[in-house]
């Protein structure tokens, strides 16, 4: 029997949980949150660890270390900032974006075809943590790649560049970018339609470990505990990947995590079932997929959410008999004061509507669709994106959804999406909704590498099934 601690250093809260590990089981002992100490992350980390282990604040980290096995993750200033470069928008660029998001990153900007000089200036201004550079199938196009390599070489960028494009010119790319740190990995799309994002994902993760921990005290924690942090979203991604391996009845699942700044959508299900009447267009998306939406969030991104979500919100406000103007006032209040807590019934409804809008637009972008086409051979469906119809379970995680006692915030927007435009959205057909009751998913994700079965078990036993009213 031993104590295992998992800590997640987020941008506003440092969250932690202590578990007891017996022969085959992980049991939750305690869960705490303290404000993240921005200037020196160690302070908040130390406090979290001391509280979880019931020690006073004067116990040194050294001593605390002896009391438990410690894992940790960091959201890295709100996620790794990745710039994605591809060739054709629907092919290699689309894969570059998917790879970046699946690695726990945030795509701050994406570029296709040739980089223009203003693109390069924009890149320099944004100063990403990583540039993911792809394009061309193996042995395919190289003109754009070599051109763009030249431009990156003569730019003032300082971040590492992951090259995941045409293998035939990989050496040449490295030669051109002599003054850069270039990490070469397998092509994201070795053949048309063949998806190979894992190697690039792994490289991004390695870079995260090496680079982003520098500063604000994280290096000290790494050295002391001899363990590397995970990017928080990657932790959840790995948990979502692992669960069905141990619990086949939980295959075909999805998870939504609404935060103050972003909304993350995860799915683990086969993206396309080949039949005579459905033709897939574009790339076949990976089985486990994460998308992250930087404009959808409940506080930091409330204003952009309000803009993006205006149509949805107007529709819902009408149904609830509330005024758009009042909601607008609420949104400007919470944008100015991001730790504002809603007061009174009306503000709670506003908050809930914002969360619904996050679900609506995150799902809209994550989930693929069918277009009906009449051909001389009969009716055929053209599929683009990922098919989530077989998803049986949708789990809400994150500060907000973990606290939601009914399925409404997730179920209502998904139901509304059924009537979205002319396209048939491939939404989960009859999902059950759950909440990550103790807000454990990111913390359990940290344990996946070492305790995959135990962490998966606790994840599926700790979620709570939610009631769906009426429907």
């Amino acid at each position: 029997m031993k104590t295992v601690v998992s800590i997640d250093i987020g941008s506003t809260w440092t969250k932690g949980a202590a578990f007891e590990l017996t022969a085959s089981e992980l049991e939750l002992l305690e869960r705490v949150s303290v404000p993240t100490t921005q200037n020196n992350l160690v302070v908040g980390f130390h406090e979290t660890l001391a509280r979880l282990l019931h020690q006073d604040g004067h116990t040194s980290l050294e001593e605390l270390k002896g009391l438990a096995e410690v894992f940790f993750s960091s959201s890295a200033k709100g996620g790794l900032r990745i710039a994605a470069i591809g060739l054709v928008p629907d092919l290699t660029l689309q894969l570059a974006k998917l790879a970046a998001m699946s690695a726990g990153g945030k795509v701050i900007k994406s570029f296709s075809f040739s980089l223009t000089s203003s693109d390069v200036k924009e890149l320099e201004r944004l100063s990403p943590d990583i540039v993911l550079f792809s394009g061309g199938t193996d042995g395919g196009n190289s003109k754009y790649i070599l051109e763009n390599a030249q431009k990156l070489e003569s730019s003032r960028l300082s971040c590492p560049i992951v090259y995941a494009g045409n293998r035939a010119v990989a050496e040449e790319v490295v030669n051109i970018m002599k003054s850069r740190e270039v990490i070469v990995t397998e092509n994201l799309m070795p053949e048309i339609g063949q998806v190979n994002i894992e190697p690039a994902r792994e490289k991004i993760r390695e870079i995260f470990l090496k680079r982003i921990v520098v500063g604000r005290g994280l290096a000290e924690i790494v050295e002391l505990f001899g363990a590397q942090p995970k990017p928080t979203p990657l932790a959840v991604f790995e948990l979502i990947s692992a669960i069905p391996e141990f619990y086949p009845e939980w295959s075909d699942l999805a998870a939504i995590d609404i935060g103050g700044a972003t909304t993350d959508f995860y799915s683990n299900t086969e993206s396309y079932l080949e039949t005579d009447t459905v033709v897939l267009k574009g790339i076949r998306e990976p089985k486990v997929k994460r998308t992250v939406e930087g404009d959808l969030g409940l506080r930091v991104s409330a204003r952009s959410l309000f803009e993006t979500g205006e149509d949805y919100l107007r529709d819902r406000l009408g149904e609830e008999g509330l005024e758009f103007k009042h909601m607008e006032e609420f949104v400007s209040r919470i944008s100015d004061k991001i730790d504002y807590l809603p007061v009174g019934e009306k503000e709670h409804i506003f908050d809930r509507l914002l969360a619904e809008a996050c679900v609506y637009y995150a799902a809209l972008r994550h989930i693929g669709g069918w277009k009906e086409i009449y051909t001389p051979q009969g009716k055929v469906y053209m599929q683009t994106g990922k098919d989530l119809r077989r998803v049986k379970a949708i789990i809400g995680s994150g500060g907000f959804l973990s606290e939601e006692r009914t399925a409404a915030v997730m179920a209502i927007p998904l139901k509304k999406l059924r009537n979205y435009g002319e396209e048939i959205k491939l939404l989960p057909e009859k999902p059950d909704f759950y909440r990550d009751r103790y807000y454990l998913f990111s913390l359990l994700g940290n344990l996946i590498e070492k305790y995959p079965r135990e962490a998966s078990t606790l994840a599926v036993t700790s979620v709570e099934k939610l009631n769906q009213k009426g429907d």
Binding site: T137, S142, K143
Partner: protein
């Protein structure tokens, strides 16, 4: 060697889902020594062009069997030019018109639209492969190494296109001849 093969993109355009012939074409051109990127059925112009860009293809071979080719192919060459694929070879074949239009009329129509060669449904595929090899040689030279040809393809200087075939090294002729064409 994989790198030495010329890449061609094939597919059935528009809302046409005739998939059998498409698979035969893939098998045939692969056996003829081409690297075939098969986009399957119901392929849009944009998809043909996107795939050709990423793979640095030499030619796009469009199939159409349901009679709407003329509508589906409007502006195909123009799209290629817009996307920087100026010298790409465009072939089309199949049932290209409804009714009893003489083939010569059909051929002229599609050539006007920018297709380099137009084939009736009963064409001998061996002959198509031979013409394709010739055309590739004329437009791109015999070497099909990705980078060189890529750069050349995008310079679109006229002298490349008029390069006499006999001055180009004979690599292509070394290609293994398949033992008889079995085109069913």
């Amino acid at each position: 060697m994989e790198n030495q093969k010329d890449t061609i993109v094939i597919g059935v355009i528009g809302s046409d889902c005739h998939s059998v012939g498409n698979k035969i074409l893939e098998m045939f051109f692969t056996s003829e020594g081409f690297k075939v990127v098969n986009l399957g059925v119901m392929v849009s112009q944009q998809e043909f062009v996107d795939a050709a860009i990423e793979t640095n293809a030499r030619a796009i071979l469009v199939s159409s069997l349901y009679g709407h080719a003329e509508i589906d192919c409007q502006g195909f060459r123009e799209l290629c030019i817009e996307k920087g694929l100026d010298p790409i070879i465009l072939y089309i074949g199949g049932n290209l018109a409804v009714g009893k239009t003489p083939f010569s009329v059909v051929e002229e129509k599609f050539k006007k639209m920018g297709f380099d060669r137009v084939f009736p449904p009963d064409v001998d595929l061996k002959q198509v492969a031979e013409l394709l090899r010739q055309d590739i040689k004329e437009k791109f030279g015999s070497c099909s190494k990705g980078q060189e040809a890529g750069a050349r393809a995008n310079q679109t200087s006229p002298k490349n296109q008029s390069q006499p075939a006999d001055q180009i090294s004979q690599n292509n002729n070394n290609r293994k001849e398949p033992e008889g064409s079995r085109t069913e």
